[in-house]
C-alpha cells in the first residue's frame, strides 16, 4: 500500500474515525442487513435443505390461505391495539404522579413499579402461567371470594388466555416505559408546573397541556419500541399459553419458529412470513413518525 507522503491532520483524523467505527458498522451489515436480504431471497424459494427451488410468490399466497398464520396476525394485532395504548397511558400517568416534588417515598414507589423489569421474560411468563393455572392462586382467590363457583380454565379458553397475555405484558412493561417518561420529565423545568398551578391549571390540564406535548418525542420513541416488541412477541406465547388453546393465542414469531424448527423445516415459507413482519414494522413505524410530526 502506498501512502501519501504527508497526510493532513484532518485526513488522518478521518481515517481514524473509520478505524473506530468499522467493526461495529460491519457487524451490523453482516448480522442484520445481509440476513434481511437473504431472507427476502429465501422467501421466493421452497424445499428443504440443499434442494431449494425458486417458487415465485407462492409462499406469499400460501400464507394468506394459512388459517393459523392469519390467526397469529390477528392475535398479534389484538395484543398491539389493546395492550400498547393501555400500557403507555398508564406509564405516562404513573410518571407524572411520580414527578410530583411533594410526593413522599418517591424512590421506593419507582423501584417497586420498575421491579418487574428485573425478571426474565421466560420467568415472568411461567409465574403468570402458574398464577392463572386451574389450581393457581387466582382461581383459589376467586372461588374463596365467591366470584367463581369452581376454578375457571383461564389458559385453555380463548378469550381469557388472550387477556392473561395482555395482563402479563402490562405487568412486565409498564414500569419500563415509565422510566423513559420519568427521564423525559427531568428535562422539563419543574417551575413550568408551578407556574401553571399558580395560574389555576388543574392537574389534568397541566398533564394534557404541558406533560404530553413536551414528552412527545419520548412518547413516540416508546410507541415505536413497544410496537416493534409486540410484533415480535415470542417468549410469552410459548411459555404462558403455549399458543393455545388450539393456536388461538399464538403470535406470529411463535408460529414462524414452529414452522422453521419444530415441524419439518420450511425455511422458504418461514422467511416469507418473517418478511411480512418486517414490512409491518416498517409501515407502523413510518405511520407513527408521520403522526408524531403532524402534531407539531
Amino acid at each position: 500500500m502506498s501512502k501519501p507522503k504527508k497526510m493532513t491532520l484532518s485526513k488522518k483524523q478521518n481515517l481514524m474515525g473509520w478505524f473506530f467505527l468499522l467493526p461495529g458498522a460491519l457487524l451490523i451489515f453482516i448480522m442484520s442487513f445481509l440476513p434481511m436480504f437473504r431472507a427476502l431471497l429465501l422467501s421466493f424459494k421452497s424445499g428443504v435443505g440443499a434442494n431449494m427451488k425458486w417458487c415465485g410468490i407462492s409462499n406469499y399466497i400460501r400464507m394468506f390461505q394459512d388459517t393459523v398464520f392469519v390467526q397469529s396476525i390477528k392475535n398479534t394485532f389484538l395484543y398491539l391495539l389493546i395492550q400498547v395504548p393501555i400500557m403507555l397511558v398508564f406509564a405516562l400517568i404513573l410518571a407524572s404522579i411520580l414527578n410530583n416534588k411533594d410526593l413522599k417515598f418517591k424512590g421506593l414507589f419507582r423501584t417497586m413499579i420498575f421491579l418487574p423489569c428485573a425478571t426474565s421474560l421466560v420467568a415472568y411468563a411461567i409465574i403468570f402461567r402458574s398464577l392463572f393455572a386451574n389450581n393457581g392462586l387466582v382461581n383459589l382467590l376467586f372461588v374463596k371470594l365467591g366470584i367463581l363457583d369452581q376454578p375457571y380454565a383461564f389458559l385453555t379458553n380463548t378469550t381469557s388466555a388472550r387477556i392473561v397475555i395482555v395482563i402479563a405484558l402490562l405487568w412486565r412493561w409498564t414500569g419500563y416505559n415509565m422510566v423513559f417518561y420519568l427521564s423525559g420529565l427531568q428535562n422539563i423545568e419543574y417551575s413550568v408546573y408551578e407556574a401553571a398551578k399558580i395560574d389555576g391549571a388543574s392537574a389534568v390540564q397541566s398533564f394534557f397541556k404541558i406533560t404530553v406535548p413536551l414528552l412527545k418525542p419520548t412518547i413516540l420513541l416508546t410507541a415505536i419500541m413497544s410496537t416493534n416488541g409486540t410484533l415480535q412477541l415470542f417468549d410469552e406465547s410459548v411459555n404462558l399459553t403455549k399458543g393455545g388453546p388450539a393456536n388461538t393465542s399464538i403470535t406470529m414469531s411463535h408460529y414462524i419458529y414452529d414452522m422453521s424448527f419444530k415441524y419439518v423445516p420450511n425455511f422458504g415459507y418461514s422467511a416469507a412470513m418473517s418478511f411480512l413482519i418486517l414490512i409491518l414494522v416498517a409501515i407502523l413505524a413510518f405511520l407513527q413518525m408521520k403522526v408524531g410530526d403532524k402534531r407539531d
Binding site: 429465501l42 418525542p217 418473517s274
Partner: protein
C-alpha cells in the same frame, strides 16, 4: 377534608395498589420456592421450610448448574465484547463525524427496525455453516453490535469535552489512548447503563439460543426453566425455585446499576 387532601389520598392509594400488584407476583415466586407444591396450591403465602427439598428435586430434574454457568458465560462475554465494539463505533461516529459517517449512521439506525425473526433463519444458516451451533461465538455474533448501543454512545460522546481532547493530542496521546484512558473513565454512567441493558438482554434471550443451542450441554438458563413446564404435573415449589434462580442475576445487576441505568437512559432520550 379539603379537596387537596382527598386528591392526595387517592394518589397514594393508587400508587400503593400499583406497587403491590408489581411486587406481589415476585413475592409469590420467592415464597413458593420455599414451600411444598401442595402448600403452594392450597394458597400458602408465607415462606416455608421446603427450600432444600425443592433444590434437591430441581437439580435431579435438570442440570441447573450447567445451564446457569452457560448463561453466565454467554452473557458476560457478550456484554464485554458488545460494550467495546459499540462504544468504539459510537465514539468514532461522533468525534470524527463528517458527511459520509453521518449518512452511514442513519443507515445503521434503520437496522433498529429490522425485527429479529426476519433475520433469524439466514443467521441460523450462516452460523450452522460456520460450525458455530452450540458455541459462545454463535450466541454472541448477531448482537455484538446494536444500533441502540451505538446511538447511546454516540449521544454521550457529544458531551465529551473537546478542549481536553485537544490538550491530550498536543501532549502526544494517541487517539486509541484518548479513548481508553479518557473517554471510558468519564462515561462511566453510560457504560453502566449499556452494561445493564446488554447483560439483561443476553441473559433473558430465549428465541436465539432456542434456535442454535441444539445440544443439551449448551442450553441456557431460560431454556432449562422453560423445559420444566413440560409434562402433566407441575411441582410449583421446584418450578418457582428455578424461576427465582433465573431471575437473581438480572435482579442483582438491576439493583446495582439502577441509578446509572436511569441516568444513561436520560442521556439517550435527550
Amino acid at each position: 377534608m379539603t379537596r387537596a387532601k382527598i386528591r392526595k389520598f387517592f394518589m397514594y392509594a393508587f400508587l400503593i395498589i400499583v406497587s403491590f400488584v408489581s411486587v406481589f407476583p415476585l413475592y409469590w415466586m420467592v415464597s413458593a420456592a420455599t414451600n411444598k407444591s401442595a402448600d403452594v396450591i392450597s394458597g400458602r403465602l408465607i415462606p416455608g421450610t421446603y427450600f432444600m427439598e425443592n433444590w434437591k428435586n430441581l437439580i435431579a430434574a435438570q442440570n441447573i448448574g450447567r445451564a446457569f454457568g452457560n448463561s453466565f458465560k454467554y452473557a458476560l462475554i457478550l456484554t464485554f465484547v458488545s460494550l467495546v465494539v459499540s462504544s468504539l463505533a459510537g465514539y468514532g461516529f461522533e468525534i470524527f463525524h463528517d458527511k459520509a459517517k453521518d449518512t452511514l449512521m442513519s443507515i445503521i439506525l434503520l437496522a433498529m427496525m429490522v425485527p429479529f425473526v426476519a433475520t433469524m433463519i439466514p443467521l441460523f444458516q450462516m452460523i450452522s455453516k460456520a460450525g458455530w451451533l452450540n458455541t459462545t461465538i454463535g450466541f454472541i455474533l448477531p448482537t455484538i453490535s446494536t444500533p441502540f448501543l451505538i446511538m447511546m454512545f454516540r449521544q454521550s460522546a457529544r458531551s465529551f469535552p473537546h478542549d481536553i481532547m485537544e490538550a491530550a493530542r498536543i501532549d502526544g496521546l494517541s487517539e486509541i489512548r484518548i479513548f481508553f484512558q479518557m473517554f471510558i473513565p468519564t462515561m462511566r454512567s453510560t457504560y453502566a447503563a449499556a452494561m445493564t441493558i446488554t447483560f439483561m438482554n443476553a441473559w433473558n434471550s430465549y428465541l436465539w439460543p432456542k434456535v442454535i443451542m441444539t445440544d443439551a450441554t449448551s442450553q441456557t438458563m431460560p431454556m432449562v426453566v422453560a423445559n420444566l413446564t413440560e409434562g402433566y404435573v407441575t411441582d410449583y415449589g421446584m418450578l418457582m425455585l428455578a424461576v427465582l434462580i433465573c431471575t437473581l442475576p438480572t435482579a442483582v445487576v438491576f439493583f446495582c446499576l439502577q441509578k446509572a441505568f436511569a441516568e444513561g437512559i436520560t442521556g439517550a432520550v435527550k
